[in-house]
Amino acid sequence: MAEVANDGDILGLFLAIGIPLFLTFGPIAFSAIFGSYYQKGKMDKLLEREKQTGRDPVSNLSNPVGDKKIHSSSLMWESVVIGPSWWQMLLGWIGSIFGGRLNAFTDIYDWARREALQRLREKVISSNFDDVINLRIETSMMSSTSRGKDRTAAMEIVAYGTAIKYE
């Protein structure tokens, strides 16, 4: 016997489909929307700071340019630990099926390298050094992403160099 569906049935149907759908795709959608918004904001702030720095003191030459007398030198380093968002990891996973370019990670890794460098610049400038030579950037994975129970994906980027102060 067919009955006309009342409001309760429609609501029930809506909930029956909606809740599993939300639980499945909700976090990923949240990650996609808020993640890109958040990361874009961070990138804008970084660009602003890079502009304010003015002359870039950093170089990866092993000796300082010119023959200015050196007053003092010191090892300086700064690091940043980042993790891609769930959405980016999903895109990366899909991308790795087909291979080729992975645009999902490009932005956040680019941000992290530049952030580490910018922090080093700011530290060097605030410690009254003039230049940084022999800059090295090193990357290391902090936790397993594909294996094990640890689902946190984290990558550490450290930028280090010798800061020098001229007389």
Partner: protein, 111 residues
Amino acid sequence: MTQGQVQLVVSNTETIPGMTIVQSLGLATGSTVRAKHIGKDIFAGFKNIIGGELKAYTELLTEARNEALNRMLADAAARGANGVVNVRFATSSVAGGAAELFAYGTAVVVQ
């Protein structure tokens, strides 16, 4: 950088700018292994949803790297050096979210 009473000059170049190396005293090393804090780990897991910097880990590794560097400096000072050149950092993840931070360089006497 200072270590105890001795003032050590540290550099990641092969020479110390503005100084001359008179004696090499061998390799100075320092390392430390740090595990992630479970509370921080949970927070970092949430932060992973939107991505970006995991500040708790940045602080943890900064602290750990400082310790590795200080141990390297102590090693160098124990050899009677007053400088460390060509310093390199290495990181490796040990089992289950622990990370080893390693710093090494050549202990030297500079003038």
